[in-house]
Symmetry: C2
C-alpha cells in the first residue's frame, strides 16, 4: 500500500473528495483474521454533514429541472462502471466482510446490484413508478415527484446490494430524482469508498450535479439524529440494528421526516406434522441450507421454526442438529456480530430455551460462532413471547413446539411484525383446514407469506414486498426491494390542479412522454395520449 | 325532548348501544346562539376504549374472511340510509356547527358524503385500490390488504364529509376492509351519534360484523394516546388541531403505528403583478369568496397571499379590505374557534403585521369574529417566518408584499409544508419566466399546486392530493381525499410467494375476480386473466 493510500480516506462532499472535519478515526476489521484493516476512516463532525446537506439541497433543486432520461443514464452508466470495477470491489468487500468472493460477492451480489440499478433506470425512464394519474373531467393531474435529499444508512450484511451508495435504497432514491447522502456502514467503509468513486465519475460522465452522490463514513449518534431530522432532508432509508434505528426514528418522526427502517425479523416458519410425515428429509435440507446460508446473516433468515409435538418433530430437531454439527460454521461479518450473536443465544437460553447444539465459539482465528439450535415449547413461548422473539442474527435458530395447530395459532398471535412467514404443509392438501387457520393468523403479521419455500431468496420482482409491520420495518405499506414499488418511498405525491398545459411535468402532459408509460386516465390504465 | 332523549348518550361498542364507563360528561354548543345544547355526552374511561379495541380486533379478523362485495354493499347501504336520514342529520349539524342548512349542509356536504361512500364501495368491489401485482416468472403476487382496526378522529369543520364515522377517512378505512372506532369531534357529537346509528343498522342489514363501526365521544388525552398506540390498532386518521395531533403522533410513532394527520396549512397564493394588472377585480372576487367561504373554516383556506410591491398590490389590498368590510362576518363553529382565531390574529399583529381591517368580535349573539385582513412585508416575514405562518383558522388572511419575484421566492423557501399553493399570473404568458421560478420553489412545499384558481374546492378525484409535506400532514406520500388513492393509507402491502393457487386472495388468482379489475401482470396493467 502506497503512502497516499495509507492516509485517512477523504469524504465526498459537493463533488469533491476532501479531508473530513474530524477528530477521531476508525478502522474496519477483517473477519477472516479477526484483526483490524490498515486504512483509517474519519468520524465526521457536524460541519461535514451540514456541508453535505447544503450541497444536496442545491443538487435536489437542479435534479428537479433535469429530464428523467439523464438520471436513468447515470444509473446505467454507474451499473456499467460497477461491473468494470468488479475485481477491486470484490477484493475490498471480501477483506471487510469475509463473505465468499465466489459465488456470493462476484457472481450473486454484484450482478444483483448492477441489475437493480438498471431496473431503477428503466423505472425512472418510463416514469411508471410515479403513477401518473389524469382526471380530464376535473382538470386535475397527479404523480409522485422527487422528495428531496435522501440519507441512506446501509446494513453490514450486503456490502453491494444494500450498500449506502450502491444498493436498493440508493437506486430507488436516485431513480425517484433525489440526491443521496450515504452513511457508510462501519464494517465496510473501503468498499463504500470504492463505490462512491465510481458513482462520482458516473455523475460527471452523464452530466448530473456532482453532489448527486455524497459520502460520509461515520458521525456521532447525535449528529446522525440531527441529519435525519434536518429541514433540508427529504427522507431517510435505514437498514440495521434495532436500537440505532429506533433512535433515528424518534428524531425523524419528531421532525415529521419520513424514515424507512428495516430493523429485525425472526421470520417464522410453520411446518405441519403432515408435511414432516411426507417429506421430513427434504425440509430439513431446505431449512438448514437457508438458515446457514451466508452464516445466517440475512434479514430474512428463518430464525424461528414452529412445529406440532410428535415423533416427526422430534426427528426433525434431531436431523437439523445433525446437519448443524456436520456443517462447518461460516465466518461472521465482524467481531461485533459474533458478540451480539453470542449474547442473543445466551438470552434465549436464560429465558429457558434448551440448547440442542452449538452455543459457543469454535476454535478459529476467524469471527465465528458454532451453528446453534435451540428448542422450547409453545407454552414457554407464550409465557414470554417478547423474550423468545429475541433475534439471534447469524447461524442460529429456535424451534418452538406446540401441542397442536391451535396452540401454534395462539403463539403466532403474539408475534411481532416480521418480514416473512412461511407455512409448509402436506402436498396432498390433507391439512388444508389447519393451514387456513394458520394463514389467517400469520398473514397480518408478515410482509411476505410463503408456502413450501424458505424465505431467504428476495427476488427483485415488481410483486416483492421486502417489508412488513413494525418492528420489521417502520411502516407496513412499503417495500425496500422491487422496482418500481420501492421508489415510492422517496417520492412526494403532487396534484396539479388547473395547471396550464405547458407547465405540467412531462409525465402529465396530454402526450404520453415515452409512448410506453402507464398512466391512469379517467380511471383506466393506458399508454395512450390523452385524447 | 323526551326523558329518554335527555339521558346521557350511549356509546356504541361491539354492536351495542351501552352506557359509557365514565365520570364526566360534556355538551356541545350552539354557535348560532352561543349557548350550550341540552344533550350530555360521556367522557369515556379506558375500559370503553379497551372494549372497543377488543371488539374491533375480532371484527377485523372476521372482515378479512368476507368477500369485498359484502363490504361494498355495506357502504352503499349506509350511503342510502344517510340520504334517507338527511333532515335529521342536517338539523343536528346546523344546531352544533352553525353551518348553513342549505346549500352547505343539505345540498353540498351531504351529497359529497354519500357519493364518497359509494365511490369507496366501487373501489372496494373492483379491488383497484389494492394494486394487485402478479409476476408469473417468479411466482410472486402482491396486493394491499386490510391493515387492522382504524381509529378516526374527525375535525370540527366538516361534520358530514370528514366525520369520524361518515367521512373520507371512514369510507377509505372501511373500503380497505377494516373496522373503525370513531372518536366524535366534541363540537358535533349528536351529529356523529346519528351517523353511527345509521351505520350500525347498515351493518346489520348487510351482514357485516356489528363491531365494524364503533363510537366513543371523548376520552382524556392519555387514553387517546393509548388508543393510537395500542397493539390491536392498525392505524389512525386524525384531522384537527396541530397540538393535539402532534401528541397523538408522538404516541403512535413510538409504537410503530401509522398515523395519518392533517394538521394545519396557510395555503399560500402568489399573485403576480401582471395578473393584477390584467384582472385585479376578478381576482379580488375569487379570493374574497374563497377566503370567507364557510367563514374561512376550510383546511385549504387561502390564508397567506403573496404580492409584488406596486400600485396594483396597493389597490388589491384596498379592494379586499372593502369587500371584507361590506360582507357580514359568518358564524364560527364554536366559541373555541372564535377564541383561537382571536389569539392568532393577536399573535400575527404582535409579530408586526398591520391590521388593515377587522380584528375583533362583532356585536352579535353568534360565535363570530370580524372578517380580518392583515398585511406585512416579505422582509418582515423573512425575519420571523415561523411566526408569520401562524394559522389563523377562520375568516382572516395575511398579505405579504415583496419587492420582486426573487424576494417572494426567498420567502417561499421558508414556508413549512402546506396542503396547497397557488400561482396567479397573466393569461398572455408575459410573466411565465417568473412563474417557473416561483413554481420551482413552491411545488416541493405543497401537496397540490394550482394555477389561476383558489384552493378551497377539494374535488373527490383519483388525481386529488389532499395532503402535503409536514406539518400539513404527517407524510408527503398520501392523500386523505380521492378514491382509490386514499384507501392505501389503511392497507398493508402483502406479498404471496409460491402460495398454492387455491389459497391466494381472489384479487391475485389467475382469473380476474370481477372481469374489470386493473392488475399489473408482468409489468403491464390489464383487466385480463393470467394466461
Amino acid at each position: 500500500m502506497s503512502t497516499a493510500e495509507k492516509a485517512i480516506r477523504p469524504v465526498l462532499i459537493a463533488g469533491e473528495w476532501r479531508q473530513a472535519k474530524h477528530e477521531h478515526t476508525f478502522k474496519a476489521s477483517n473477519p477472516n483474521k479477526n484483526e483490524l484493516l490498515p486504512v483509517e476512516f474519519p468520524v465526521s463532525h457536524w460541519e461535514d454533514c451540514d456541508a453535505a446537506l447544503e450541497a444536496a439541497a442545491q443538487a435536489a433543486h437542479e435534479l428537479r429541472q433535469l429530464p428523467a432520461e439523464k438520471i436513468a443514464d447515470f444509473l446505467d452508466c454507474y451499473a456499467d462502471r460497477i461491473e468494470a470495477a468488479k475485481d477491486a470491489l470484490v477484493d475490498a468487500a471480501y477483506a471487510e466482510t469475509g463473505l465468499a468472493k465466489s459465488p456470493r460477492l462476484a457472481d450473486v451480489e454484484l450482478p444483483r446490484t448492477s441489475n437493480q440499478l438498471r431496473a431503477a433506470a428503466e423505472a425512472c425512464r418510463t416514469g411508471n413508478w410515479a403513477m401518473p394519474t389524469i382526471d380530464t373531467k376535473t382538470g386535475i393531474r397527479s404523480c409522485y415527484e422527487a422528495l428531496g435529499p435522501i440519507c441512506i444508512f446501509g446494513p453490514n450484511n450486503f456490502p453491494f446490494a444494500f450498500g449506502s451508495v450502491s444498493g436498493g435504497d440508493f437506486a430507488a432514491a436516485i431513480a425517484a430524482g433525489n440526491p443521496v447522502i450515504g452513511k457508510a456502514n462501519s464494517s465496510h467503509p473501503e468498499t463504500t469508498y470504492l463505490f462512491a468513486k465510481e458513482a462520482l465519475e458516473a455523475a460527471k460522465q452523464t452530466g448530473l450535479p456532482e453532489a448527486t452522490v455524497q459520502l460520509i463514513y461515520r458521525t456521532n449518534h447525535a449528529d446522525g439524529e440531527r441529519m435525519v431530522s434536518d429541514p433540508r432532508i427529504g427522507a431517510t432509508g435505514y437498514t440495521g440494528s434495532r436500537n440505532a434505528g429506533l433512535q433515528l426514528k424518534t428524531a425523524a418522526d419528531r421532525a415529521g421526516k419520513p424514515i424507512y427502517l428495516e430493523l429485525s425479523s425472526v421470520n417464522p416458519v410453520v411446518i405441519t406434522d403432515n408435511a414432516l410425515e411426507e417429506r421430513c428429509d427434504e425440509i430439513v435440507t431446505e431449512f438448514t441450507t437457508s438458515v446457514l446460508m451466508g452464516t445466517g446473516q440475512f434479514c430474512t433468515n428463518p430464525g424461528l421454526v414452529m412445529l406440532q409435538k410428535s415423533d416427526r418433530s422430534d426427528a426433525f430437531v434431531k436431523a437439523v442438529a445433525e446437519k448443524f454439527n456436520t456443517t462447518p460454521a461460516g465466518t461472521l461479518l465482524s467481531p461485533a456480530v459474533a458478540k451480539s450473536l453470542s449474547a442473543s443465544v445466551q438470552k434465549l437460553c436464560d429465558f429457558g430455551a434448551d440448547l440442542v447444539t452449538g452455543g459457543g465459539e469454535p476454535e478459529s482465528d476467524r469471527c465465528a460462532y458454532a451453528n446453534t439450535l435451540m428448542v422450547t415449547t409453545a407454552a414457554a413461548f407464550l409465557k414470554n413471547p417478547e423474550g423468545f422473539q429475541t433475534e439471534a442474527f447469524g447461524n442460529a435458530a429456535l424451534i418452538v413446539i406446540g401441542d397442536d395447530i391451535a396452540e401454534l395459532c395462539k403463539a403466532i398471535r403474539h408475534l411481532e411484525g416480521n418480514l416473512t412467514g412461511c407455512i409448509y404443509s402436506a402436498s396432498n392438501g390433507s391439512d388444508d383446514d389447519g393451514c387456513e387457520t394458520l394463514a389467517a393468523e400469520l398473514t397480518p403479521k408478515v410482509g411476505r407469506l410463503l408456502n413450501d419455500k424458505m424465505p431467504t431468496g428476495v427476488a427483485v420482482s415488481p410483486a416483492m414486498n421486502h417489508g412488513g409491520p413494525y418492528p420489521a420495518t417502520g411502516h407496513p405499506g412499503f417495500t425496500a426491494v422491487g422496482v418500481p414499488a420501492s421508489l415510492i418511498r422517496f417520492g412526494k405525491l403532487t396534484s396539479f390542479d388547473n395547471i396550464r398545459p405547458h407547465r405540467l411535468p412531462n409525465l402529465l402532459k396530454d402526450k404520453n412522454p415515452t409512448g410506453k408509460t402507464w398512466r391512469m386516465i379517467d380511471g383506466d390504465w393506458t399508454c395512450e395520449d390523452v385524447s
